[in-house]
Structure formats: structure tokens, C-alpha cells
């Protein structure tokens, strides 16, 4: 789509939005840009927003402003748990925080979600670099059905849960406790290496942006130590076989999750349009996924709407926290009481050497008691959402008009009103919020595709990321990366990676003159 409103932009720039935008420009025969109502929103998280922590690196890590004293005390307790580093099983004097691994991706929540925000992508260049300590990136893996057929959810396929790679599971756990692998101390199931490929986007005005994309490689797998992919010979390790799909994922922000949890399901499903019946070029599909809480309660069809995770593959914050504890850190918990590599040769061999580190404590309970994931959930649920900045800035307001005109709000749905929170957290209930997401799946094109299905999500689909707080991302973590794998160093790069259903919006952006591209980015930065 060519840039179609040069007059409007000139008019907006010269006369201000009130003259020809904002719905007050009647009588104009030229295309108009209207400033949407959400451009006036400031407290994006409703009454949870603390305006005194909305400009700095504390923007994501501040408790909801409307918590009562009991809630605040509980939140603060969860804060400490979020930062707690776990240690391997049996560490003297550390009984409350042991059980790390034996294989894992990181040793604390905070290590991937730095300051409760986006993680730092690996520091790599054009040559492969091994992921080391404190990496925010992990590699999700699974076996893909070669038929390409749409999965029909059923009990016998785990309701389309990604199929684990035999011997490895659904993640490459690149770290281990000392004795996880006698052949390779402190290594997990395999090493992960990353490098970046670059490409250049050129605007019509000649300006250029360099994009980068991570390329991941698995080496030194447990089932064939030392092996690395080679074009000259067939792979030996199971994890290197061609049917294995790999999807790099970077730690996303964790604030505002309780508010997202409190959006009425009907409001989300109202936007589902799998066949694009309204012909706006945007489909939007719900991901109905396995619900471990329903399963634990004996529900015969434990499937629910997924809201969380990069492919909407988790139902609740509690579900997601419990999943991260057992997978990313290797801490068993009541919802997932077996280790993340349970049943694999690696784990069997480890257990033979360390029979007591079996994920079950002396009391017969999992490594984390129920209180632990509940506390961590409450913490994430009750983090505030930062207020907007520069709301009245002319560029920001013009940018909001472009955001709307480009169709960004077709997926990044601005506004909801929460219902009673499912866990009855009062501060999250009945709030007018501006998350800028529909929590639905959208085809984002080949450039972002991981070709790995996740329940109903295809390899090209991702859940719409909330945009609230996104303008503070680099204030919170100056090295944070955007998009699912952290590849985008700037919001501009992130916009330019949009494809698939978002292609039209991206092209709208690409065809804007520089000043208007900057205005749209200024609006995003104000969120």
C-alpha cells in the first residue's frame, strides 16, 4: 500500500491535530488521519499503574499501586522468590532452595526476565558463539509431523502438545549441575551455539536498516558427545535429525499478567476470525491448549484457551510459572512433579549416580511446595503496568493516528475492561486497561516463522505481544531484544520484521516518509 495521505500529514504537522485530525476535521476532502481515543490513555494498567515508577528502569518491577497491605506484603514475598537463585540438590544449609536441574536453562526467574522485562539476547556476531551463563534465550524443540496436516486435538496426542524429542524433551537444556554429564561438566543435554545473519531493508527515501536473525545450532548432544551438525555427513544424534524443529525464545516481560488473565474470555473470542470473514486481512485464532489444572482436577477434556507464552500455549499464570520452574530451572512442583528430562537416558544415568536427586524431597513432596509457584504467580500477576509518557507530544499523537491507520490495532487491540480476576485478586478486577494485544494467534510470515507447531498454533503463528510498557524496554534493560527471539534491537526493526497478516501494516510503515515513521515509533515509545 503506498503512502496515501501526504496532505493529511502536512496538515497535521502544520496546523496540529485538532484542525484536521482527532475527528474534528470535518469538511476535508483529502484523506484524514484521526487520533484514536486510546491516544489519550495514560494509566495503561488502570489503577495498578504507579506513575512514580513509569519513567525509569523500575518501570516493570513495581507492585500494583492499588494493592492492599496484605496483597503488598504477599507481592514483596514473591519478589524475593523471583530473584532467588536455586542451587543443586543437597547443598548444605540451603535445603529451601536446592534442587536446581540436574539440567536447566537458568538458575533463577530473574536471570531470564531481567528486572521483570525482556531478556538480553546472546552477544554473538557472524560466527557461532556458545550460550554461556545467564542467557535469556532458550531453545524449544519438538518433532514435527512430516505430513503437515492440521493437528486434531485428542487425548492420545496430548491435545496437540508438541511432541518431545526422544532423549531430550521439549527444550534443549544447555546447562547442568556438575555431575549431569560426566563427559562434560556443567553441560546439560547439549550445547547451544548462536550466530546472526544480517539483511538490509531500504526505504523509498533511501534510508536503510540492518536486520539480524539468529541462527541456532545444537552441538555436543548427550547421545553423541562432541557431535556438531555437518553438511558432509548424516547426523547421528536424535536431536539433530531433520524432523526436529527448533524455536529460540527469549524471556518476555512478566508485568501485567494478572490483568491479562482477567480479560473476559468472551471478549477475546469475539475477535477470532480464522477465515478472515470480515476481509480485513487479519484472521486471529484462539489457541486451545492442554490445561494441566483441569487435568489435575479430573476434567475429561482438559483443554482451555491459551493466553500466555509466545504461542499462547499456557492457560494461566500459575500454569506458566509451574512450567517455567520445572523446565527452565529444573525445579519440580505440584503441577509438574517429575524432572524435565525424566525418562531419558541422561536422567537415568544421572539417577544411577545420584539416586537421591530424583525430584522428590525426603518428605515425599516435589522440590517446590505448592506455595512456591503460587507465590511467584501472585508476584507476576500483581506487578504494575507503567504509565505512558509524552502523551500530549504532537509526534506521539500523530503516530497514534498512523498506528490506527496502518491497521496495527487490528491485532494489538488497545482496550479492555477486566472482569473479576479468576483468583479474586481485587486490584486486578474491573480495571480499564490498554494492553494492545488480542492474545490471539496470527500468521506473522516466513521471516518470523519457527516452523514448530504448538498446540493449535502453526509454525508461522505467534500470539500478539502486548505493547504496554514497550517504550520502557531499553530503559529497563538497555540491551534487551524485541520479538520472540530478541532479534530486533529497536522497535523499528521489530516493525520491519512483521509479515503475514501484518504485512500490510508493515508496508504502510515502510512507505511513510521518515518524519512519519518517527512519529509512529514515538507513539510506540510512549506506551
Amino acid at each position: 500500500m503506498p503512502w496515501a495521505a501526504p496532505f493529511a500529514v502536512a496538515c497535521l504537522a502544520a496546523a496540529g491535530l485538532a484542525a484536521c485530525g482527532g475527528g474534528n476535521g470535518g469538511g476535508q476532502s483529502q484523506p484524514e488521519l484521526s487520533v484514536p481515543a486510546y491516544a489519550n490513555a495514560t494509566k495503561l494498567g488502570g489503577d495498578t499503574t504507579d506513575v512514580n515508577a513509569s519513567r525509569s528502569s523500575f518501570g516493570f518491577s513495581t507492585p500494583a499501586a492499588n494493592l492492599d497491605t496484605v496483597g503488598l506484603a504477599r507481592h514483596l514475598e514473591g519478589d524475593a522468590a523471583f530473584e532467588q537463585a536455586f542451587v543443586p540438590f543437597g547443598e548444605p544449609g540451603q535445603e529451601g532452595v536446592d534442587g536446581l536441574g540436574p539440567v536447566f536453562n537458568n538458575s533463577s526467574c530473574n536471570a531470564c526476565h531481567q528486572r521483570d522485562g525482556r531478556g538480553t539476547p546472546p552477544a554473538a556476531g557472524e560466527t557461532f558463539t556458545r550460550l554461556g551463563q545467564n542467557e535469556s534465550l532458550l531453545l524449544a524443540i519438538s518433532i514435527e509431523d512430516s505430513s503437515g496436516a492440521q493437528c486434531e486435538a485428542a487425548f492420545n496426542n496430548g491435545y496437540c502438545v508438541p511432541q518431545p524429542v526422544p532423549g531430550f524433551g521439549r527444550q534443549v537444556f544447555q546447562r547442568g549441575v556438575f555431575d549431569a554429564r560426566p563427559d562434560s561438566p556443567f553441560t546439560g543435554a547439549a550445547d547451544v551455539f548462536v550466530r546472526y545473519e544480517s539483511s538490509i531493508v531500504t526505504y523509498a527515501d533511501g534510508a536503510m536498516v540492518t536486520l539480524r536473525k539468529p541462527v541456532l545450532q545444537v552441538r555436543n548432544p548427550y547421545d553423541n558427545p562432541g557431535e556438531a551438525p555437518s553438511a558432509l555427513q548424516l547426523p547421528v544424534s536424535r536431536v539433530l535429525q531433520p524432523d526436529v524443529r527448533m524455536s529460540p525464545r527469549i524471556g518476555p516481560p512478566v508485568f501485567g499478567l494478572g490483568l491479562l488473565e482477567a480479560i473476559p474470555e468472551d471478549d477475546l473470542l469475539a475477535a477470532v476470525d480464522p477465515d478472515d470473514a470480515d476481509s480485513d486481512g487479519i484472521s486471529g485464532r484462539a489457541n486451545f491448549v492442554f490445561d494441566p489444572l483441569k487435568a489435575a482436577a479430573g476434567n475429561p477434556r482438559p483443554v482451555s484457551l491459551g493466553r500466555f507464552g509466545l504461542k499462547a500455549n499456557n492457560v494461566t499464570v500459575f500454569d506458566q510459572v509451574s512450567t517455567a520452574l520445572v523446565n527452565d530451572i529444573g525445579i519440580t512442583n505440584p503441577l509438574f512433579p517429575t524432572e524435565n528430562i525424566s525418562g531419558t537416558p541422561l536422567h537415568d544415568a544421572y539417577l544411577a549416580r545420584n539416586p537421591d536427586d530424583n525430584g522428590i524431597g525426603a518428605d515425599g513432596q516435589s522440590e517446590a511446595p505448592l506455595a512456591s509457584p503460587k507465590l511467584l504467580s501472585f508476584y507476576a500477576q500483581t506487578l504494575h503496568v507503567p504509565a505512558r509518557r509524552n502523551v500530549d507530544d504532537a509526534d506521539v499523537r500523530r503516530g497514534s493516528a498512523h498506528f490506527e491507520a496502518a491497521g496495527c490495532s487490528g491485532c494489538h487491540t488497545p482496550r479492555y475492561v477486566t472482569a473479576r480476576h479468576p483468583d479474586a485478586i481485587p486490584s486486578l478486577s474491573n480495571q480499564e486497561i490498554y494492553p494492545f494485544t488480542d492474545l490471539l494467534l496470527h500468521d506473522m510470515g516466513a521471516g518470523l516463522a519457527d516452523d514448530r507447531r504448538d498446540f493449535q498454533a502453526t509454525g508461522r503463528e505467534w500470539r500478539t505481544r502486548p505493547l504496554w510498557g514497550i517504550g520502557l524496554t531499553h530503559t529497563v534493560n538497555p540491551l534487551a531484544g524485541f520479538l520472540h527471539d530478541g532479534r530486533a534491537r529497536t522497535l523499528e526493526e521489530a516493525v520491519l520484521w512483521h509479515g503475514g497478516e501484518a504485512r500490510a501494516a508493515r508496508e504502510y510503515f515502510r512507505n511513510l516518509p521518515q518524519s512519519e515513521r518517527a512519529a509512529l515509533l514515538a507513539f510506540l515509545s510512549s506506551l
Binding site: 528502569s57 523500575f58 519478589d79 542451587v87 554461556g132 555431575d179 530503559t475 538497555p478 540491551l479
Partner: protein, 390 residues
Amino acid sequence: MKMLSVLCAALLAMLSAQEAPAQTVPFNAAGVSVKVANRIITQTYRNLNTQAGRLLAAVNALRVGGATEAELDAAQAQWRVTRVPWETSEGFLFGPVDAQGIDPLIDTWPLSTQDLQQFLAAGFTSTAAVLQAPENVQGFHTIEFLLFGDGVPTNDQPVAAISPQELAYVISTTAVFKQRTQLLETAWTTRFDPSNPASGPYARQLTIPGPTSVYGSQAAVIEELVNGLITILDEVGNGKIAAPLGANINSTDESLEESQFSYNSLTDFHNNVQSVLNVYSGQLGFKPRDNAISPTGNGLYTFVFAHNALLANQVLAAIVAAYDAIGLIDGDGNSNTTAIVRPNQITFRQAINDPGGRIRCQTAITALQTAQNLLATRVLPLIANTDFAL
């Protein structure tokens, strides 16, 4: 990351809400941001890196097979000296120290002493080995563990108690530690993005807020600095002291005490509050009884003073009271030092298990909370009532 003393904060919030609306005050924060970023924060990281170099030299003197008691004493002493700039950086734990993941590599607690011993027994003692090792077998507390022993029953193990593998490893892990402190200094003085030479010193992000900085305004910089102080006051009071202290003498949790091998915890707490004094006063190493604080000193005091001179001094007094209360925990009646060098002094671990010590710990917690609450409920809201120059 931010904890508030629940009841006190609520009470103070109610009180402040009853006050008349404050007038907007014009304030150019450039002086504060330049002073704090360059003379406090960056200089603190420079000092850390310098002291880390001296620590490396001290442990390099511990040659396998030839180390002496005097050399071990010197290394232990230098560990304590190196600890000072790190603990005085904890009032501004934002930016590269988080973004580059340096904090856990420098200061992870708890350690995995089991994995460390297995690692050493398997002969992994080289610098290359440390670089591959997890954060819980390197950094300050690993060096502390190897130099001082496990702290039970003494923090002064003989040099003969250190195995050849441990000696080799303490040298390697200190060398890696020095690399990390160099990264921090470079981030604040040269470039904060290791992969982007054009990123420039992180200090510049604070000193030149605006469209090209991660801080969009002077207000953002002031908010950052105030919240940094609130966070460390909270962490010391409600975390580092209160958590091991427990609700009563039967529920202490000694495992939560950092620097427990060297008995340096009380000094750590003191230096954490020194960090607050430095940023608030605009003077590195500010000593309230020796140095004058000035409205033109370009610490946060200058900002608060522009609004309310009484409040500015009230906050200072609260911070000093917290500093003094920590100094008294060791029981010698002298608030000026917490070094455990005199017979009548007790360690933090002893204090939390001693009825009198527990009272002194609680007094310090209360003092820390008072300072924290003043900053949270009286100082932070001033930002909204400020007409900043940018």
C-alpha cells in the same frame, strides 16, 4: 524489586495526602545527573576495577606450595577492600550490571560448594574452566569461601587448609572476576553495548537524557536515582537483615546471610547505606560527621532541597540514623565501624542469635524503613511537581 514497609508506607501516604498540593518547582537536573553519573557511579566502578586488580595481585601471590600466612592475610584483607566499592554500588544497580548479566557472575549467593569441590577434585582449575562454570562457583563469595574457609568456627583458616586445587582455582576465578569488573568500568566509561562500539558510555545515558537516551527526560533520571536508593534501603532492611533474623530467635535462617564466610556482612550493610549517602549527598565517601552537605552539591539532596529544605535534611538525618543503627549491631557501642576486630564485637550471625543483638537488628530495620519510606512517599512524588529543564 522494590519493597515497601507496608504499614509505615500506607500511614505516611495518608499523611502526605492530607498536605496541601505542592507547587511546581523549576529544576534543572543536569548538575545532579552529571555529578552522580560521573563522580559517583562511574568512579565507584572504576574503584571496583582497581581494587579487583589488587585482589588479583594478592591471590597471585598465593603460589601453590609456597603461600604464607602473611600472603593469605593480605589476600583476605584485599578481598574486604574490594568488597567496599561493590557494596557501595548497590544503590544504583541498574544498566549494564543487569543488562550484561554481570551481577550474578560477580555476587551470586548462595554458592554451590558441592559442585565447586567436585569441579576442583576433577582438576578443573583453569581460567578457561571458570569461564565455562556456572555463576554459583565463581565471584565474590567463591573467592571468599576459598580464602576464609567456611566460617565455622573461624573466618581465619590457616593457609595450610587450602588445597593446591583451591589455590589454583582462587587465582583463576579472581582473574575472571577482574575481567567482569573491567566490563563494568568499560560499560560506564566507553561503551555499554559490547557489540556496538557506537553505544558510548552508559554514563552518557544519564547525563544527556532525551530522544537519544534510554532515559527520556531528566525526570526519568531522578526517578531512577531515587528508586535505586529506595531499593537498596529496602533490601538491606527487609531482606539482608530481616530475612536471616526471622520472626523470633527460634526462626533465624543463617543460610540467608551473605558474606558469612568472612564475617563481613555488617560491613556490607554499612557500605550499602554508604551508597545511599553518596548519591544523596553528591560526594563519594560522604561522612556526615566530617563532610558538609550542600544544596549546590548536586546530589539528590539538591533536588529535594529545591522543593523543601526541611524535608531534604529530614531525609539525610534518616539515612544517617540507619547508617548508625547498623554500626551498633555488633554491640561495641561504636557506630563508626563494623569491622569485627575487637573482643567485645559480635558478628551478624551472632547478633541474630543474641537477644540484645536481635533488638539492635530490629532497630536498624526500623531506621532503614524510615529512610526508605521518606524517599518513597515524600521524595518520589516531588518529581511530578517539578518543572524539569528537559
